[in-house]
């Protein structure tokens, strides 16, 4: 683990895997909840956790470097189920990358337990991990100028669901009617870091 100072009041904690980042994130949330960590933002990402708005970053840096942190995230809470029609325009391309028949993509994807590793790109957009590394797929060579809201998509090791229509280069495998982001709802985001997720095929897809 490496702790890098960021500006005057933030730290970037770098670990060696996504699992470790999720474990570290869970541990930092636990410390904030029990009052032993005072921080404005805890932002997990692929292999880092950013702590922004710290009172004494140098002291925390020393403490974290010396700490024995858990290597795996704890068992998470309730699984969020997202109903999907596996009807995306890139299904065949993804099947070809995976080396499986097209209909197998839905079976493999919906049989996987995902977890929100981190969020970013847009409010409510989660980067979900869970697929084995052999199912990594590249981004599309040419991004689409408009990916419809509710598109279920793959890129690299991640699955994501577009909260609203936006440009995007991910491979589209399906569609959901789930509302990923609604700022009038509490909580606004359906998915937040650490949330376990399962995709459930809709009848007929």
């Amino acid at each position: 683990m490496k702790v890098l100072p960021v500006g005057e009041d933030a730290l970037l904690v770098e670990v060696s895997s996504g699992d470790e980042a999720q474990a570290l994130h869970a541990e930092l949330l636990r410390r904030r909840a029990d009052g032993t960590l005072s921080v404005r933002e805890i932002v997990p990402a692929a292999r880092t956790v950013l702590l922004d708005g710290l009172d004494a970053p140098a002291r925390l840096a020393a403490e974290l470097t010396a700490a024995d942190l858990p290597a795996a995230p704890p068992r998470a809470g309730d699984v969020v189920e997202i109903a999907v029609r596996y009807d995306g325009p890139d299904l065949a391309e993804v099947a070809a990358h995976w080396g499986v028949p097209v209909r197998e993509v839905a079976r493999i994807h919906s049989g996987t337990e995902f977890r929100v590793a981190f969020c970013g790109f847009a409010p409510g957009f989660g980067y979900l991990t869970g697929l084995p590394p052999r199912y990594d797929v590249p981004r599309r060579a040419t991004p689409r100028t408009a990916v419809p809201a509710g598109s279920v998509a793959l890129a690299g090791p991640y699955t994501g669901v577009y909260p609203r229509s936006s440009p995007g280069g991910w491979q589209l495998i399906g569609t959901t009617d789930a509302v990923l982001w609604d700022h009038a709802r509490v909580p606004a985001a359906l998915l937040s870091p650490g949330t376990p997720v399962r995709f459930v095929p809709e009848a007929g897809s």
Partner: protein, 289 residues
């Protein structure tokens, strides 16, 4: 609609509603947003008799014109500019009484870039995640002002400003940004790091509320590897593939995959918000306190 409202007559190039923003939601991909020149927005609120953090208007370059439906106290701060009420000159940087139905015109900036217009009672659009700020990256908050928009106003706090005029910093002839290096300065060649903190840059016209873009020496990476997405802070100096540093401002993305060579001190960001395109920029490395 009650008469506690403000009709937009001239929206200007880009006028948005801004308050203290919505920090605390970065882990959901929500930018902090909020007024770019915080001290100027705070001063405008004090002069208009509003509590700190009340929503104000943030204009860009050419001001805006609004017509309150009832008599209000306003204050214009930030970029210096002519202020008129029904065509008569009024004070900049001081409380101004605008009768109901009169036209308040905030003119083009004479120096600086962003003017702040506080109105007694504050702009009372519906808050989103605790803030009324327009976030241009993610589209949260009210859309930028358009002619004909009617903005609701809150009830005045009844606090009378204790100041008539207040000193404000002049916009910088040269923008000096103190930076602490890292977290990813090691991704650049030593020559690039030296160039970054010693060579002159200029503010690019492609700058916006998301980032202050610069023109100047391209910074060469020590290796071409890709950085996995990581959390970003306000003031982060990110270097995209073209090698030109971008200073992240309030609407910056919460995560990013280009290396951050340094972070600008928070105290220097209000000046960055007022630097017009073409302003010389110098990044000065300082030690972490």
């Amino acid at each position: 609609m009650t008469d506690r409202a403000l009709a937009v007559v001239r929206a200007g190039a880009l006028t948005t509603v801004q308050d203290a923003g919505r920090p605390g939601h970065a882990h959901l991909g929500v930018p902090r947003s909020g007024a770019l020149d915080r001290p100027a927005a705070g001063l405008a609120n004090r002069l208009a008799g509003n509590p700190p953090g009340t929503a104000v208007l943030e204009t860009t370059l050419d001001g805006c014109a609004v017509r309150p439906r009832s008599t209000v106290t306003v204050a214009v701060t930030g970029a210096s500019c002519p202020v008129t009420v029904d065509g008569r000159p009024a004070a900049w940087g001081a409380p101004v009484r605008v009768p109901g139905g009169a036209l308040l015109d905030v003119g083009p900036a004479v120096s600086g870039l962003r003017a702040y217009v506080a109105v007694s009672g504050g702009i009372a659009v519906e808050p989103v995640l605790g803030s009324r700020s327009t976030d241009l990256l993610s589209g949260l908050g009210p859309p930028p002002l358009a002619a004909g928009t009617v903005l609701p106003l809150g009830r005045p706090a009844g606090v009378h400003a204790r100041v008539d005029v207040a000193p404000q910093p002049a916009p910088p002839a040269e923008l000096v940004l103190r930076v602490t290096l890292g977290p990813r300065d090691g991704w650049f060649t030593p020559e690039a790091v030296r160039a970054f903190v010693s060579r002159p840059y200029r503010v690019s016209s492609a700058s916006n509320r998301i980032g202050l873009r610069t023109e100047g020496p391209a910074l060469e990476r020590a290796w071409p590897g890709e950085l996995a997405s990581e959390g970003m802070v306000l003031g982060a100096v990110q270097v995209p593939p073209d090698g030109r540093p971008v200073v992240f401002l309030a609407d910056h993305p919460t995560t990013g995959g280009y290396p951050v060579i340094a972070v600008v001190r928070a105290a220097d960001l209000p000046a960055a918000a007022q630097a017009v395109p073409g302003t010389p920029v110098r990044f000065v490395a300082v030690r972490r306190r």
